[in-house]
Structure formats: C-alpha cells, structure tokens
Symmetry: D2
Subunit: 355 residues, 4 copies
Amino acid sequence: MIAKLRIAVIGAGYWGPNLARNFDAGPDWELVAVCDRDRARAQLVADRHGGVRVVTALDDLLTAEDIDAVAIATPAATHHQIACAALAAGKHVMVEKPLADTAERGEDMVRMAAAAGLVLMADHTYCYTPAVLKMRELVREGALGDILFIDSVRVNLGLIQPDVDVFWDLAPHDLSIMDFVLPGGLRPLSVTAHGADPLGAGKSCVGYLVLPLEGGAIAHVHVNWLSPTKIRQMIIGGTRRTLIWDDLNPQQRISVYDRGVDLNLQALHDENRASSTVSYRLGDTWSPALPEREALGAMAAEFAASIREKRAPITDGEAGLRVLAVLEAASRSLASSAAAESVAPWERELIGEAL
Amino acid sequence: MIAKLRIAVIGAGYWGPNLARNFDAGPDWELVAVCDRDRARAQLVADRHGGVRVVTALDDLLTAEDIDAVAIATPAATHHQIACAALAAGKHVMVEKPLADTAERGEDMVRMAAAAGLVLMADHTYCYTPAVLKMRELVREGALGDILFIDSVRVNLGLIQPDVDVFWDLAPHDLSIMDFVLPGGLRPLSVTAHGADPLGAGKSCVGYLVLPLEGGAIAHVHVNWLSPTKIRQMIIGGTRRTLIWDDLNPQQRISVYDRGVDLNLQALHDENRASSTVSYRLGDTWSPALPEREALGAMAAEFAASIREKRAPITDGEAGLRVLAVLEAASRSLASSAAAESVAPWERELIGEAL
Amino acid sequence: MIAKLRIAVIGAGYWGPNLARNFDAGPDWELVAVCDRDRARAQLVADRHGGVRVVTALDDLLTAEDIDAVAIATPAATHHQIACAALAAGKHVMVEKPLADTAERGEDMVRMAAAAGLVLMADHTYCYTPAVLKMRELVREGALGDILFIDSVRVNLGLIQPDVDVFWDLAPHDLSIMDFVLPGGLRPLSVTAHGADPLGAGKSCVGYLVLPLEGGAIAHVHVNWLSPTKIRQMIIGGTRRTLIWDDLNPQQRISVYDRGVDLNLQALHDENRASSTVSYRLGDTWSPALPEREALGAMAAEFAASIREKRAPITDGEAGLRVLAVLEAASRSLASSAAAESVAPWERELIGEAL
Amino acid sequence: MIAKLRIAVIGAGYWGPNLARNFDAGPDWELVAVCDRDRARAQLVADRHGGVRVVTALDDLLTAEDIDAVAIATPAATHHQIACAALAAGKHVMVEKPLADTAERGEDMVRMAAAAGLVLMADHTYCYTPAVLKMRELVREGALGDILFIDSVRVNLGLIQPDVDVFWDLAPHDLSIMDFVLPGGLRPLSVTAHGADPLGAGKSCVGYLVLPLEGGAIAHVHVNWLSPTKIRQMIIGGTRRTLIWDDLNPQQRISVYDRGVDLNLQALHDENRASSTVSYRLGDTWSPALPEREALGAMAAEFAASIREKRAPITDGEAGLRVLAVLEAASRSLASSAAAESVAPWERELIGEAL
C-alpha cells in the first residue's frame, strides 16, 4: 500500500470545507491541518474531520514537515502571496479559481513552480465532472473531427456580486472547460467582450465573449445574471460529429449527433455553384452512460497522481493562466468599447514554452 | 358588406403560391392575377385558384384597372424596380423580405410610397404568428417593464446558401421580430457582427450580432447553420418580468416569469456596499393561451385593413427598412473585422421622420 | 417499368381525401375513381386529382373492369357490406380502422378474402410512420431481448365523441402499434378495461386497458380525453434493452436505453437472498436517425407490394381483427365491472389458423 | 419564547439519521436521545448532534421523563409494538411509513392514541414538500373544481427489494399524496391491482392500481422498477382546471391549466346530440412559485404544532391507516387475480369515526 500524501487546506470560508471533506474522504490523502486567520472558523471545519490540527499563521503551517501539499481557498487577491510562500517552502500547491488576480502574478506562480519542480494545479472543478471528462475524451480521440465552433450558454438569476462582473463570476467555468476539452488548450486569436449593464449596477450583468480560434473556428460564451431560468448548455460542433452538453438534464447530459454538413470544395469553386456543393449527414444520436462520481473527489485523486507521477496535472497552472489571460483580455476589451484584444505576448510565449 | 380588395401576386416561385393561397382564402381579398415571366409556373398557381388570370409582362399587369394591390415575391434584387413601378401605377404594395437589396433602394421605396399616399408593407410573416403578436402586446402594455436585454437563438442544420451568408438567411426573422416587439422599433446604437466560416464555404456559417440599445440595454442574435439540433428561443428580459419564447414547444410557446433582480440604487452608492443592494423576486410563471391562426392569413388581413383605414400597417416599409439597415451594417462590420458600425445617418433620419 | 395498379377510393368524407392524395402521388397507383353517395363531395376530391371519375353507386364502381383495388373510408358500420361486395367483385380491399363494427363481421371479411385469394389490408396508418417501422425492426431483430412490458399513454383534451367512448376513439392506435411491433402480434391472455365517466357524458372519458401477455409480461394502455396536455408515449421494456417512443419530440422520437435489471435466478433461490440477486446495467442511450416519410405514402406502397407479391400486407386483415377483438373484449369487460375477459375462442382460433 | 419540545429518535439505520438532523436543526425541538439496539450505530448519530444521549433498551428510553415525543424509524414489523409502548408511556408518536405492517395493527395504534389524547403522526414526508403543500392548498380552495381523475406515474430502474413488491415499495408515496390532497382523504370505492413479474423475481415489478372514487372519478397509479428513465408525474384533473406535477422539472414543478371540457348536460339528453354538447376552454397556464424548504423540516414543525395546539397533524394516524388499508386491499386483489377489493368495513368505519 502506498503511503498517503499529507495536505493542509488554507481558507475555511465557503469552498475550503468542501476541499477538506474530499481530501479527507479519498484514499490518497491524509488531511493534517486546516489554516485560517479566524481560529473559530478553522476549528469548525477541523471538528468535522476528527479534530485535525488548526493553524492560524501561514508561517507556522509552511514550516511544518508533515505537510506535502496545500490547497488554497482564500480570496483571489491573496493567491499569489500564499502560493509563492508555499512553493518556496517546498509544498505542492492547488489553487482555487481564478489562479491569481492578475495574469502577471499567475505567470510568476507558474514559473516558480516549474523552477522548483513542484506541482501547481488549478482547481477547475467542473473539469472533473464525469460529463466534462467524457467530452475531453471524445474530442481528443477525434470522435468529433476538427472543431468548428463552441457555443456556451450559462445564464440564471444571479447574485450581483460586489467585486466582480458577470464575466469574472461565470465565464471562468466555460473557459476552463473549453481549455480542458480542446486538444491544445484554449488559445484564442483574440478576445472581444460585449457587456451590458441595463440596471445601472456599475458592472456588466449580461455578457458575450467572442473568441476566434485557429483555422476559422470560433468559440462564444453567453453569461447572464438576469435570466429567470437557468441554462447550462455547450454545443461543440465538429467536422465529424457535434456534441451537446446540457448539464441540467441529468437523464441525458451529453448527446453526440452524427449529423452535419459536408462541403464539396471542388463543386464550390465551379462556375455553376449549385446545392450539390453541400451534403448532409443525418445519422443517429448517441448518449454515453456517465458514472456517478463527485468532481472534487476526482480532482483530489488527480492532484495526488500528478505529484506521485511527477507530471503536470490535467488542469495545471498553465491552464489556470490561460483562463486568466482570456478574462484579463476580456476586461481590456470591455474598457476599450469591445475592441478585439490579443492575449498579451508574454502570455502566449509563456504558454508556448510551458507546453 | 364591404367589397373585396383585388390583388395580384407577382412571382410564382417558392413563396408566391403561399401568398396566393392566403389572399384567396380570406374574406378581404379577391385574387385576380398571378404574374411570372415563366407562364407555366404562373399557370400552375392560377389553376389552384379557380383559374385566375395569368400575366407574364409586368406592364400588362400594372396597367390593369381591376387591381388594387400587388404582393411581390420575386428575388430581392428586383424588389425596388417592381415596387416602384407598382407604386407609380397607383397600386398598394407588399414586399417579401428583405424589403430591397440595399437600404438606399429600400429608402427610395419608402419615400415614394409616402409621397403617393399608398401602403408599402413588409412581409415579416413571423410577426403575425399568435406568439409574436402576444409578445408585442405584452411588451407594449408594459407587462415586462423596461427592456433590459433581448437574446435570440436561431440555429439548425441549414442549407448553405449560394448567395447569402447565415446573417442574411436567418437573422431577418430575429430582427423583424425585435423591431415588431420593441415599442419604438429596433434602433440599435451600433451593430457588431462576428462571423465564422470554419468549413471554408466562403461565407459565414456561424454568426453573432451585437446590438446595444438605448439606456444600457442590449440585443443579441445567434444564427448558425451547423447545429445538429434546432433551437428557436428568444429571451426578453425586463425590469418587471421576463418572457421566454420557445417556438419549438407547441404546448408552452410563451412563458412569462415574474422573477427578476431589483437594484436598490441608494444602497449601491453607499460606502458599505453589501448584498442588500440587490433583491430578488421569485414569483409565478404564466403562459398565455394562444389562438390557432395561420400567420399569412393574419398578414393578409392587416394589409387590407391598413389600406381601408389609410394607415401604416404594423409591419410597414419603415420596419422593413430598419431590418435592412441593420443587416447592411452587419455586413459592413464583418468586412471591417467586427468593428461596431453605426446605422447610417440618413437611415436614422428617415426613420425619425417617418415615425 | 411495372404497370400501375388502379384504385378507387370509397368515401369522400374526412379520411378519403387523404387516401386519394397519397394513392395519386406515389409511383405504384393510378387513382381512377372516387365514390360517394354525395356526388358534390366526391367531385370536390376528384377535381384535385385531374378530374378522375366520380361514381355515386357502389355497384357501378365494382362492375368496372379498370379497377384492381378499393380503399374504403366510410363509417365502420358499412365496412363489412362494402368490403364483401368488393371482394366478391374480385377487388383487393383496404379498410380504414376499425376493420368492422363487430369482430364477427371482421372475421367474415378475413375468411372471404382468404378464400378469394385477395388482399385484405387494415389501414393502421401509425404503423407506417418511420418511428413505428423502426420499433418493429428493433423488436423483431431482438435488440430489446424478450419483451417484459409495454406501457402506452395517449392523452389529450379530446372531443367527446357522440358514438364511441375513449377506448374506441384512441386505443386502436396503441393496440395496432403493439400488434405491429410484437413478433407474434398482440395476443393478450385476457383484457380488463377500467373506465371512468366523471363528467356524466354517458361513456368513458378516461380509460385504462390491462393486457397480460404470455410469459408474465404485461401491456397497458392509458387513454384520456380530459388531459390539458398531450402525451404520446410508449415504453417497451425488454430483457436486453428498453425503448421509449415519444411521438411529440421530433428531435428524438425514439430512445433505446441499454439499461436494465438482470436477475441472478440461482441467487434468488438461495436461502440467504441478498441484493446480489439483482444487477444493473447502466449503459448508453441511442437514438436512431429516422427518415422523413409520410406514413400514408408508405402504406400505399405496401398495399401495392402485397398485391404484386401475392402475400399478406404487414397490416393485414388478421391484424385488424386482433385489434377489433381486443376492443370488443374491452367493452365486455367494462360492461361486467372490469372483469378480465378472454378474447373469444373463435377469434383465437381464427387468428391461430390464419397465421 | 416557547420551551422546546424534547424528542428521541428510535432506530439509527437509514432514515433515523435524517430525522435526527431535522429535529436537531429546527426551532421547535430539542433532540435528547437516539435509541438503537446497536449501540455503535446509535453513537454515530448521536455524535453528529453534540453527543446526545444514547439508549439501547426501549424501556429505558420510555421511562425517561425528559422526553415528550418519539420518532420511530425501525422496520415496519416493529412499529406497532414500539408505538403502543410509547403511547402507553405518555409519549407523542411519529411513525415512519408504513404506519404498521397490517391495517389491523395500524387501527389499534390509532385507537390507542385517540384514547390517550396523544398525537400519532404518519411520516408522509413527500406531503411536506412545497409542491405537494401547494397542490393540497389549490385542491382544497377549489381552484381545480371537483376532481375528475388523478393519474400518478412513478417509474425508474429500481432495486428489486427482498421483502416487498413494487406496490409496497413505491405506491405509498402516491397514495399518501393523494390522501393528503383530496379534501376528504383517499377513500376509494374499491381497489384493483394488476401486477406483472416478467423477470420471475417472485413478486410484482410492474404494477397498476385502479381506485374508483365517489362521483364517477378515478385514481390510478403506475409503479415500475424496470423503467430505464425516471418519471414522477401526477395529473389531477378537475372540472375547473387541471394540475400537472412533474417532480423532476425543478424549473416548473407545478403547472395549472385553465383548460378543460365543459359538458352541456341539457344538450346531451336532446334527441339530436351534436358536438354542441361539449365545449372547450383553452385558457392560460400558470405555474406558482414554490419556496425552497426541506420537507423534513416542515414535518418536524407540524409535529410540534399539532402537539402544542392539541389537534391532529395534517398527516395523522388515520391518514397512515387509509394508505395502509389501500395497500392491503391491493395485495388481496393481486392474490385474487385482480378482483376489485373493497377496503375492509372496519377500516371504513374507523375512518368514518375518526374524522
């Protein structure tokens, strides 16, 4: 039997307890400490897990020798400082999304982890749901052919957040999933963001992101806090098949359509263009069975596996950085009246290097 | 009993027979002639309607004194010439969408009809469906409050057309409906179009239209020829209620949600912004009963009523022109890498005058 | 090229015109006459089909030598007399459902057609829809394994008919489909009908039919005139797979679930029965593509093919008789307070012989 | 402030912990003990609630003076004995469904509680969901008019239980909801059960219950362990409106249709019966907003309120008894080849008295 890895959860607010529960439950990890400046809050979490150690000072935590890794669930503005301290102390690090509050700081974290030979993992939880894992598998094995478009809709009646707009609140999910599913990660040629603030809330409550991809393909995200009904739907169109993910239909979350349009390029460039340039496939629909498994459990397992196998996790720091870079470009686009913003050169370079 | 108005249908191709059938069936009109350069094609249509007159030369048709109005169902490039000739001959005119092939020519038609005191009507057929008529009624009576956003999705596996892109093929429906429903018609502050041609068909097959509206509101259209499933959905979000139109759900096409977000503006500008700035309404949902009525029949009735009452029809030439102007601006936007295009000044002016 | 067969349609009321249109449109048939006592009504139909012959007296029709077959769309009470006369005159016969007004008369028609070597076909139109044809194919090729249960729901806000109850109005569809799909046809061990007349209409408006099948399986039909929403759903459960037909979901009418319960019979009879006696398969779902084809056209083609190939059609007179026998048994059950009625011996015998 | 009532939970298996959690969480109750013969199991539950008292002998529990009420979550065969002992000790009693293993024993419990002036409550949890509470309110205030039919479907891929058939496993939910919703409770004129065991499991896996009601109305239940998809749907048809409850549609669980059939009785008995005997209402659909509230919390509150207000709870012992009586009659019907079984006289009498 392999010895368990030992982890501490930093931050006992909304998300930390979920992390603690999943690290404690799985076979890979021993939860050894919960760290929060607010001792009472940390104690509450620790009590649910057999009274593990409570720590209130980060330094005390990081100097402990019985800790292999930390999971950071504190506000985004603190991620960079805490993650860098942990890496400096030789700990593997998992960070709640977004990776950092700026892409520059995120980049710093990625470089530092690489230099230290430690794992830096982004907590893109959705990627570990059975449906999204299956989507990645299908896209990567070529079941859809070349990707033509990805259209994602994530709308609901949402809490208007004090600190973030609808892009930073909801789009990280869509972007991290696209990044996870696409073979080379999400690398848009540019980012254009259209936002609307029709209530005068001081920030976008309705948003559209346009992300042209290589080869003429396009990705698009619609996020919205003002919709009375909830929609969670992503269409991934490919040359061979098209997949629709409807996360609110538990009886058929994923449908793969063997339908599409085939273009006869020869005919297209003939003088007499006729309908014969295009033909349709109207094949069967298929919905794969999905196992029942909690996403956070699968994520904890991947964190352990990547450490043991000395490899990047499937949602690594670069993945977190790519998502962050798109969000930053979206904010720049919003600030410049929906100009198409390139993802900054250093980001592209780093991403290029890192992979 | 009122005497019937007398109409001729020009163009016996795809749409003309539908027009002929509906004008012949209703109580308002007498179908007196079918006109097409191809006599056999015209004869086929005429035979289905008690052998009405067949005419092959436009001049012969327009000099006839037993014709009060014409319905034009010819290719868009010929609309301007035929409509102007008919107006010059003193006939009321209905034109299949789009009103003309350019906004400039459409403007000319609008001016000419106004000068002659004749009705010029745009055949925005969808506007006469029971669902869209109800949407217009609800929006105009204030049931939704101020409009915050309109999001329309019209996707399916579509025939890639030789002459038009996906915007000109599908978006006229969404735009004419938005124009019909919004109290002052569709008057976006600008038009941005994002298109993708991932198959290399030589034109956009996936398209997104972004239309900022007065007061911070936004309209958005997603049109797509590459989707394996059909979606026809429009969400109209308002300050009081939100309406969802799902045209593929015959058992509940329209749902009106008494749910939304209320913003406490006072609280918003306080120093300590807290969650109390926002409150939710989670009220009932209501789905109005809709009569069963064919749209084209309602359109024929409106054409007759507008002539008799010497008023503009509810889908008048200006409406057709506004839709055309947005489509032209979309094409300009596409040609300039998704720049935000204003709808040209002369159009805004004309529209201002006309209304 | 094969010469066309020549047909006359008898009865120009509600259904006759649909038959005329389909026989006229397909490649197999020449429509030569329309017969109705009401000449004007027959003329109206004839005019739509190039002015085919109009006949008002059945005798005149049946003595004509240019007629190979007749399609009967008159009231049920007249089916027996007309069909027998047509068979006596050497014509092949297709009869609108129900085959006759009593099973005894239906039996007589079946015997007479067999003796004369002529085709007698039941117009079970639903059976010729692409979905039901696919269901038959899947069941018969064993894709579902042995059938465990069939549950059919057909409810809507229905016109309360003056002459028939909800069983005779709606259940013929469900029964003819079950008969078509099941390998040996629908041969229930008994028939129990539960009806309710809560409005005091003098007949059942809500009905349930219970049909135990060989081997412990069961078929069940729920028909209802008082439901505000329309449901058309049939579940066919098998030992290998289960199929759900939802006729109101045009995007996915048929779903085949590779899910089920496997029983470990060994374990079941052990002393310590535990949950290990049962195991689950939770496999994929599959929805076959269905062609777009009008059912009546496919039916006309089958009528012609059965005549040319001198074989029974896939919905032959025996099929019509089996459905009729179940409906009669249902009426007997209703009259005797929901007793389980056997399908009468002569029927079983005849059915046995005939197949 | 009112003093809390003090409760002990008896049985620490599957359901007991849920009861303990809800009694502990609400404002009305103090959880003082958990009782189970298996001390370890009881301790586990007690530990989650601040280490409340663990008791292994029922006598020890019932002699304690700091206990006002007990909640029984033990196997059905033990309900009668435990409940009677608790009532004899002066404790109010809540019993998990079914009330007892036989109606006779259930009757005994009801009589004993009535004699002692103590509350006996049936844990019909579903009745306390917001949707079912709203259904009861709507039916009882007359929004649906007189009830014409109730059709309930509860099917899924189910665990084939060692001890019970599909009726006893699933139908208690449907029956307790019908009992809760109908103004006078569920009092069928007779009970007919049709079961099928197509897998040879030794018990019914597919079942239909037919329950004729007063005034020509009918209730029907379809329960099924062999369906690959889950359906939870109840249609309640009334003379004024019809309600559909779809428990798997969280966005619109309840729909109320202002549609129906009106019968013109005068016309019905005329000589010339025509379609004028029936008219349709095709009005709006309405879906009430439902609060988010856990059912068990509402049930705990009702138990406390009924004790304090010295009244029967809305799911009292009689309600439990009525459900039990129908289930017993269903088993008798199954045993006698689907004969219509009356609910035994003593039951009807008791129910008459008790209410």
